[in-house]
Symmetry: C2
Subunit: 197 residues, 2 copies
């Protein structure tokens, strides 16, 4: 890669990282301005346009990236579970670790799922569906269920995990334990209930 393209990639990364870093409980992506992001990344406002058409394009990049890292992590978690250990517990652990070490990635997905940009919403929805599909495949292979039931099951589980994640964001580690236990209980109910149908 040429020295030029290399530098370009570097400031592009700086923009993405600057955006992620500015997210917090009090700050959503949609509340970030182009100028703020550019400032944080250390470039002039107008240089932003050398990399992204507008903030939406930046955001979509971030969603794709975030979704990818999450899915990779979960896949690893499932592999870990395959060689001993409850799939439910391991998945929940993996997910909570993800939230703990990438809170802002999760915040982005969580908020833009119900945000004001249709492109964002469907990008996040796509990520979640990937997610459901992988879990569903696992469930069907390991429990031999109807496609319909397996899908409903996988979807319900993903929704509950996501929702618990959202709550966990603001919690102390101690309260998280309680949350995680209840989540385990809920997922078990779904597994048992699905099998019974």
């Amino acid at each position: 890669m040429g020295i030029r393209a290399q530098q370009k990639e570097k400031t592009r990364r700086a923009l993405v990282e600057a955006s992620f870093n500015q997210l917090s409980a009090e700050r959503s992506f949609s509340s970030l301005s182009l100028r703020e992001v550019a400032r944080e990344a250390g470039i002039a406002p107008t240089s932003f346009y050398r990399h992204f058409k507008d903030m939406e394009e930046l955001g979509l990049t971030m969603v794709d990236e975030g979704g990818l890292t999450l899915r990779q992590l979960m896949r690893k978690g499932r592999q870990r579970a395959a060689q001993g250990g409850s799939i439910i517990r391991v998945s929940i652990e993996t997910f909570l670790e993800f939230i703990d070490s990438n809170p802002n990635v999760f915040r982005l997905l969580l908020r833009e799922r119900s945000g004001t940009s249709a492109a964002f919403r469907s990008a996040v929805q796509r990520e979640i569906e990937h997610f459901i599909a992988e879990l569903m495949e696992y469930l069907q292979a390991n429990a031999g269920l109807t496609v319909e039931v397996a899908h409903a099951q996988a979807e319900a589980m993903v929704i509950l995990v996501f929702s618990a994640g959202a709550e966990a964001l603001d919690m102390t580690p101690k309260k998280r334990k309680v949350l995680a236990e209840r989540l385990v209980l809920q997922l078990r109910m779904i597994v048992k209930g699905g099998a019974a149908l």
Copy 2:
């Protein structure tokens, strides 16, 4: 009530209604400006302060109001179910009707649940917990479960219903039917699974 207080209440309502009316798939409460709301309500920007300290105070009022109407509706639904009819089906119907006739109220609750204002988040959370508590009471009385299980069950059900509602917002009536059926299946899984534990 004096003629003065009456007029004041009227423009206060106008502000609340103006805010609700400006919400849409493309517009969130946090993206509304004080000036826009005032304009829509037909008053000068600075007159806004005669009614609310800032936009956050307006929003909290809206959350409280929205949560109240939703809970009242659901309570009615449950009464309807008490005299014949599946509680699950009736509740889902009631909820989807609510979303259909008050999409913007639901949008507000949905978005501010994961929004950037701590006050908003806990206001919505409080509404949801009311919601869970009422359902839990019902479940415990009618199925005789542990407190723990009943709570986990009620919570899971509320989350799934909310989440389905979010999806339903952008859907055609035809697709909603499919969604509703899957939701029924999911709630049944939780009922069955809870009983099995």
